[in-house]
């Protein structure tokens, strides 16, 4: 992506109190994902937490993921203080729900992402039974394999292909996919930000999302 890309010149504004200005969108393009050894290490830590309530492993996961999670929450719409609180809450939940983690199916990053995302949604909705709704969410998110297709492909291979799928999108498509992970970036807001007709934004988003889904489905045997 270069600076002439019109999609990149129209970043969402910083919310009040968001702290330092947000990094340029290009920073979220996958550049240095963890290598295989690091992934094994992350999995091992998570399994140790799930099976042995291992606090040291938990602390290691926290050190690895918490700053990334806070960075992601902040960039996608939370003020700094909220990003801090949500990150801490997410890790408390990760500990409590650890027994539901199945390394065959889930990956720590995606799991943490869904926990933090749902915590933020519930906070917005002022829902006070957050911990109850999360019970449902986790069961659904991890166990919902349907016909079990995904099991045939190892989780590692699937992750690899999810990464490859993102890289196969065009830069415009990738930007639109990333914008979909920004809080409150409804289609009409994206249209306003990009100064594009709503119809154009919808068409482009549809094509980007379908393209991504097809690439992800190719991942499944």
């Amino acid at each position: 992506m270069d600076a002439a890309d019109p999609l990149l010149d129209n970043m969402p504004p910083d919310p009040p109190g968001a702290g330092p200005s947000r990094p340029h969108l290009r920073l979220v393009v996958p550049t240095s994902p963890p290598d295989d050894a690091e992934r094994d290490q992350l999995d091992d830590w998570m399994v140790a937490v799930a099976t042995r309530h291992d606090r040291e492993a938990f602390a290691s996961l926290f050190k690895h993921f918490a700053p990334r999670l806070k960075g992601w929450l902040w960039k996608t719409g939370s003020a700094s203080e909220e990003a801090e609180e949500l990150t801490q809450d997410a890790f408390v939940l990760l500990w409590r729900k650890a027994v539901q983690f199945n390394p065959e199916r889930a990956n720590v990053g995606a799991w943490l992402f869904t926990i933090a995302r749902n915590l933020r949604i519930d906070r917005r909705r002022a829902i006070h039974d957050t911990w109850t709704t999360l019970d449902d969410m986790e069961v659904q998110g991890v166990v919902d394999g349907g016909d079990g297709q995904e099991v045939q492909l190892s989780r590692r291979q699937y992750d690899e292909r999810v990464r490859a799928a993102m890289l196969r999108l065009t830069p415009d498509q990738r930007t639109l996919v990333q914008l979909s992970f920004y809080e409150d970036m409804s289609h009409s807001r994206i249209a306003a930000q990009l100064k594009m007709p709503l119809g154009t934004v919808k068409t482009r988003l549809r094509s980007a999302a379908s393209c991504l889904r097809n690439l992800l489905e190719e991942c499944r045997p």
Binding site: F58, A66, W72, F91, A110, V162, M166, L212
Partner: protein
Amino acid sequence: MIRHHPDDSLLLAHAGSSLDTGAALLVESHLEGCLRCRQIVQGFERVGGQLLEVESEQALAQGALEAVLARLDAPVRVPPPPVVRPKPSLPAGYNWPRALRHCHLSRWRAVGPGMRWSRVTVPHDPQANVLLLRIGAGKCLPRHTHTGTELTQVLCGSFDDGRAVFGPGDFDEADTTILHQPVVQAQGECICLAAVDGRLVFDSWIARLASSVVGL
């Protein structure tokens, strides 16, 4: 069998929590009954996980890890008992989507022959234009188009709007380009959850009058 699903971009936006209130409620209601879409959303959530993996870091507050460690063994907070909000009746064998559990649903009100509606109030966003329509067997909605997007999730019964037949669990998105007249099939009444972004524009003055009463 579900034949009509939310568009991929809606599912992606759901995974990224960037849908506005009405659309989020509709997509969540659909996902409750649709394994296919839940699996697509899970794929998109993996993408979210990967964005997280390569996210630039932001330092946590001093003592954050210690604070979290201290909370790990705290007794699990018992959630307050859920507020039971009275809901209007549904035909036997059908349940309200879980997604509506926090919403206030007004009683059924007649808005025309064989046509009733209920306002869905979402507590955190009372401005969201969400409603339930309950239309008798063989009846039809007046022909209309939209100034924005109309999302519909069929809860029970089925209707045919000239484009396709929509049955229980089906999802529809109609926009300004679609002028349609949903006709409920003869087998039974049809109840739909709808989120309207903008207004419905009816052909006839009587329908316009009715819509101004409903607030569409």
